[in-house]
């Protein structure tokens, strides 16, 4: 499976998805006006990946800002990962937030309460 590698812009995140290593990374800012357009290929990739995932899928999400329209798309990404987890594969989500960014920690906890995958909340020092 071809990996996804997208460079970040002021409104969209850096994305690296690799089926060979099971590493999924979303990093930076996600504030596009139309987030469905940006996230649809990522959700489609995961759909295909779910038919033969790596033994451990490690997901790293390190966002500085995301808008509410991205928040639904990120949930769609997590739901695809949840179905991979539910089929008996290992999945872990590492949710990074800056040390005093309570809103970002809370956002991670909201996802954690909806998605039944092990989450790790990781504080990064500024």
């Amino acid at each position: 499976m071809e990996p996804i590698s997208i460079e970040g812009t002021p409104k969209t995140p850096t994305v690296n998805f690799s089926a060979d290593t099971g590493k999924i990374e979303i990093k930076g800012r996600s504030i596009p006006e139309n987030s469905i357009e940006f996230y649809k290929p990522l959700v489609d990739w995961l759909e295909q990946y779910s038919s033969g995932p790596y033994q451990l899928t490690e997901v790293n999400v390190q966002l500085e800002y995301f808008n509410t329209s991205s928040s639904k798309c990120i949930l769609d990404v997590f739901k695809k990962l949840e179905s991979i987890y539910k089929s008996g594969n290992e999945v872990v989500i590492n949710w990074y937030y800056e040390e005093d960014d309570e809103d970002m920690l809370e956002a991670g906890e909201d996802y954690q309460s909806i998605i039944k995958i092990p989450f790790k909340m990781i504080e990064i020092e500024e």
Partner: protein
Amino acid sequence: MFNIQNWFDDINDGNIVIAYKGEITSELISDYLELVESKLDGKNVNPKIRRKVYNVLVECLQNLYHHLDIIAINGDSNIKGKYAAFAVEETESGFKISTGNFVKKSKIGILEEKLERVNTLSKDDLKALYKKVLNNHEFSEKGGGGLGMIDIAKRTGSKLDYRFYDFNNEYSFYSLNINVFN
């Protein structure tokens, strides 16, 4: 009679970080977000407040972009297309974000209902509603998820201060102020 220039002069007063009135495009939003970010960096604002102001402004500007009603006024060539106005002001207690745009009068009822619902909810209720709407699978064609106002109220802990000014038979001017307190 409502006068946009007077309204804009009112919000464009005090310690202004940014102010704009005119057409709203995706590029304009990018430019002003970049501008506000560099200005807040220069002011040495607490990162927590800086992030809240930025997040609220993103939601406000994208709300304008997705939802404003396009208006054409005979005899006024300045007001056309996706017209709106916004400002960010530094206040004694933090920052105030103001936006203004035209809405069709027929839409006011439903909009006011949404705003009032958000304003009556406690912090915990807002959190619960946010999670419910996040997880309800609905998405408008415009890409908004109906979460913007809930998110703003949840982040800022302040009430949405809104008003509808009568403009003409068909349109009202919808003014919204949001305070981010230090």
